[in-house]
Symmetry: C2
């Protein structure tokens, strides 16, 4: 069931200069509607959208995730050759990746301490540093 309040979602879109269409608002609601951080794939968000009774096509989910990422509203995480994950937490933080279930979670940022990092080669600057801690059930 959709909240009647769309202010948060509208503000979120507006902050990136994106038009508040029905589809974007409904996906935004699923992504950031409750203030919790979320990790989704195109497929998982599409299913969540279907389950919530909204109608948004899979192509639009793909396109919207891409647009949101390029606008800085999401962070794309690459852990797995095949699928892309998108994180509503756009700050620099490490991830746990469960190798068996292919699930991606935040790892506690305050427990990671990088004391020294290689310098970027000449002519380059660091765009971001991805730290993925891969987990195997023991």
């Amino acid at each position: 069931m959709t909240h009647s309040v769309t202010l948060l979602e509208e503000t979120w879109l507006a902050s990136a200069g994106l038009r508040p269409t029905r589809q974007r608002l409904s996906l935004a609601h699923l992504l950031v509607g409750d203030g919790e951080h979320r990790h989704v794939t195109a497929e998982s968000l599409y299913e969540a959208s279907r389950d919530s009774g909204e109608k948004v096509s899979l192509a639009t989910v793909y396109n919207t995730l891409r647009v949101f990422s390029e606008a800085g509203l999401l962070r794309e995480i690459t852990v797995n050759g095949a699928r892309s994950y998108f994180d509503t937490n756009v700050s620099n933080h490490p991830h746990f990746f469960w190798e068996d279930s292919e699930e991606l979670m935040d790892a506690p940022a305050d427990e990671l301490e990088i004391a020294r990092l290689p310098d970027a080669p000449d002519g380059a600057e660091i765009s971001k540093v991805d730290v993925v801690i891969r987990l195997r059930r023991s």
Copy 2:
């Protein structure tokens, strides 16, 4: 041009219990024949193989990279949603990834110092930690 010496490549395969077929020896030669570390994709290795005059099918390149990785001879690196990279350096070390050219390189391992790492959640152990430093030309 293929070296007449295949001892290194044979040893490399034998150490993982893999049969020294013509195709594997020739790919192994391209991968570790000169003792340098290399980062390849299926496509790039296939091209290198074609250029060297050997005939190995693309499917076999894919299958062979997978077999080599599962045998521990290569390390698969995921940097990019789409393509898989394979590294002949199987030790734990960070990578530079050039976002514009999609090129993957080793970063100096001695310049990375991780002082503290999040503990694995209960019931899990760390399988590996991937550190990818993404670079943008400046």
